[in-house]
Symmetry: C2
Subunit: 232 residues, 2 copies
DNA sequence: CTAACATTTCGGCTATGACCGAAACATGGC
DNA sequence: GCCATGTTTCGGTCATAGCCGAAATGTTAG
């Protein structure tokens, strides 16, 4: 019979988004290297290493070495069972958790020229990506720079694939709500898919709006300098 | 499909010892009042109220009112399932968790006159209970004072029941390890049972020693002024 | 109506955990 | 042997969660 304290410690191990991400990656894939899990959780290697050490020490995961790589896996099926159980419980509680940003801070909608990210996120993204050189505003319109191509690929957006499609890659559209220009085109759509898969934003069913999560707000601020305030 | 973030939030809800205590109390008993859960978790009413509000908001528990009491219960069987799963996982990981106090700081053993709590805990308890008036050192030996009786009952130790048993209620025995007197008798045994159930101490299998947990160290310091240092 | 009980709210305090960059260490490829 | 890659360690920063007491609020018993 485990004590309340040790049970709480196991739950707390799962109770961090980065660690939870890693645990689910391991549940789904069976095993993964420290590098894989670092990218999956989107944290610094040092952060990932510390989390992996904690989960190993807590007995949730086990490690084997293969060359320079360390491969991790869940220690038992019971750990996987707990993750599934938590997933079921989480699915039945409030879908956006106790703390969310307000609804109308980012919108997604489809128009003639493809997906758009409007609102503060879309405008902020447009400004950030032009400002940091990812996108270039040239004579031929908006284009992706060479270094920008690499950065977007690192983020998980394959620019070449998007370019070979018939849809327009990039567009700047006037955003009446922010009185500025926001991002449109298939790149905007791909970015948004990426943000959804990272749980930076969540789609609102039956609406074009998306919800920026606290994790997303932190990521947008850090990566793109887009500031959001947590609201009640 | 719940997001990683919402799953981590559910797990984090369980990942606090006070909240976990309340959740398990509800799992075992079906329903309990806020006051019951406050005592169970051994926190201040304000702390308990805040925890209950969080778990309610997170969808883990639900509340109904009856007069001045608020009664809580788990919202679904899935929550109970997760708690059981966590219990199984915790039972198979390191039983004393990543951080414990050293083994030899308290010992429990049975002698001719009944249970003893020796070592620092036993000596500290004896001193504290005499010092705060719970126990009186009179001509008839060591006795429980009237106010001490109430205090012990509040702690969950039923002194009357112990007194009606044939075993010796109280004894002071010389503790060679601390060169002082420690507590013995059925009251010592009942206190120790109480501490185990609160996860303030844990028995070491195959040994008379017990382990003082960080929670226990905090409680002993606060309630009895017995200082422990957390060790590696 | 008042006192007692149950519970909540709020402001404040403190410990701690997550995060990271830089440096160090381990391993493999050339 | 050197360089690149993967990973860990360590010192430091900062946000936040848990805790509480005091006061406030709600309900009931007398």
């Amino acid at each position: 019979m485990a004590s309340i304290l040790s049970i709480a410690e196991v739950a707390a191990m799962i109770g961090d988004p980065a660690r939870a991400n890693m645990l689910f990656t391991l549940k789904d894939s069976g095993a993964a290297s420290a590098g894989d899990l670092t990218r999956s959780a989107n944290v610094a290697p040092s952060t990932a290493s510390e989390h992996l050490a904690k989960m190993t020490e807590a007995g949730l995961i086990a490690v084997t070495r293969s060359g320079r790589n360390r491969y991790y896996r869940l220690t038992t099926e019971r750990v996987a069972d707990v993750l599934e159980g938590l997933e079921k419980v989480a699915a039945r509680t409030r879908p956006d958790g106790p703390e969310t940003l307000r609804n109308d801070e980012a919108t997604l909608h489809a128009r003639g020229c493809g997906d758009h990210i409007s609102g503060r996120l879309g405008v902020g993204l447009a400004e950030a990506l032009i400002g940091n050189g990812t996108l270039r505003h040239g004579q031929g319109g908006l284009t992706v720079s060479d270094t920008g191509r690499i950065a977007l690929n690192d983020l998980g957006v394959d620019v070449s694939t998007l370019e070979s499609a018939p849809r327009k890659l990039l567009a700047l559209c006037h955003d009446w709500s922010e009185d500025a220009f926001h991002l449109g085109g298939s790149l905007a759509g791909a970015l948004l898919q990426n943000f959804v898969s990272r749980d930076w934003v969540r789609r609102n069913r039956g609406s074009h709006t998306v919800l920026v999560t606290p994790t997303g707000a932190a990521a947008f601020k850090k990566r793109f300098g887009i500031a959001y305030r947590v609201t009640a």
